[in-house]
Assembly symmetry: C3
Homo-oligomer: 114 residues x 3
């Protein structure tokens, strides 16, 4: 099965396509915003990356969500619930993990189908 | 490749099947129990979900385990070791992560084959 | 699609191959070393496991990295950047998580193609 990489950086690629499965790099939002704002930016970035990969949010298989502080769970979910396509919700898990810097409050790791 | 979702909720699906690969939502146990009790419930839930997907625990590919407190590692493993089918053990990784609420002590994220 | 397990232990397998996709168990380094030393050992172990699976680091799809202390991010990245093959970088995400014991400073979970 073919491997295709898009937005290839020296440390990681933003998109890796293997056959009909797409792996996205963990997405974070802009420093400065609260969890709601960062989640919104992340979900918009996911939409863009999935479009580049030739797919969309109705085909997400799995979402792993890391929150720097689990007390922001409801705030993250408010944005998620507005965005996630009904009838096509992915398998999901959310855990608390500090991220690459304290300015990052949420990170989402997506696996999707094409 | 087809996508099939089972136990589809507004926020996530419990089971997502893509071709021959099954992704389960992160499973947690009943609040109140200790790590051993919660792990037992989770493993029983995984058996049920895999059965709904048309597969079973001999076909698990990967298990990611989050413990709210790593000092409970041995207690979780005691249940895992009783349950996991010899000769068919999955790739596994365990890290400490606080979960959606302090009442949840362990969460397991499964990828399996059909 | 066939499932093949290699280095099968009673608790987990080090390698699980499903069709053209390989899942490795979370890899840790030798206790005692600093993050740089442990990362180097982990990356060498990943090379060996991928070779046993019939593939190599140019075919890694996804890497999930857990650091016991995010303040060692740069130290881990220094080893990663020397090792990761340019033009073939995987999707990657890094979060902070305490590991199976305090002597383990970094763990890497790999999914690759064959």
């Amino acid at each position: 099965m073919s491997i295709r990489r898009i937005d290839v950086g020296p440390r990681m690629s933003q998109i890796v396509i293997h056959g009909n499965t797409v792996y996205l790099a963990g997405q974070v939002g802009e420093p400065g915003g609260n969890v709601g704002a960062q989640t919104k930016q992340i979900l918009a970035a996911i939409d863009e990356l999935l479009a580049k990969a030739g797919t969309d949010k109705t085909k997400i298989l799995q979402a792993i969500i890391w929150l720097a502080d689990m007390s922001t769970f409801a705030e993250m979910n408010a944005e998620w619930d507005k965005w996630v396509p009904q009838g096509h919700t992915p398998a999901r898990a959310t855990g608390e993990a500090k991220l690459a810097g304290p300015e990052y409050l949420v990170e989402i790791i997506i696996t999707a189908a094409i």
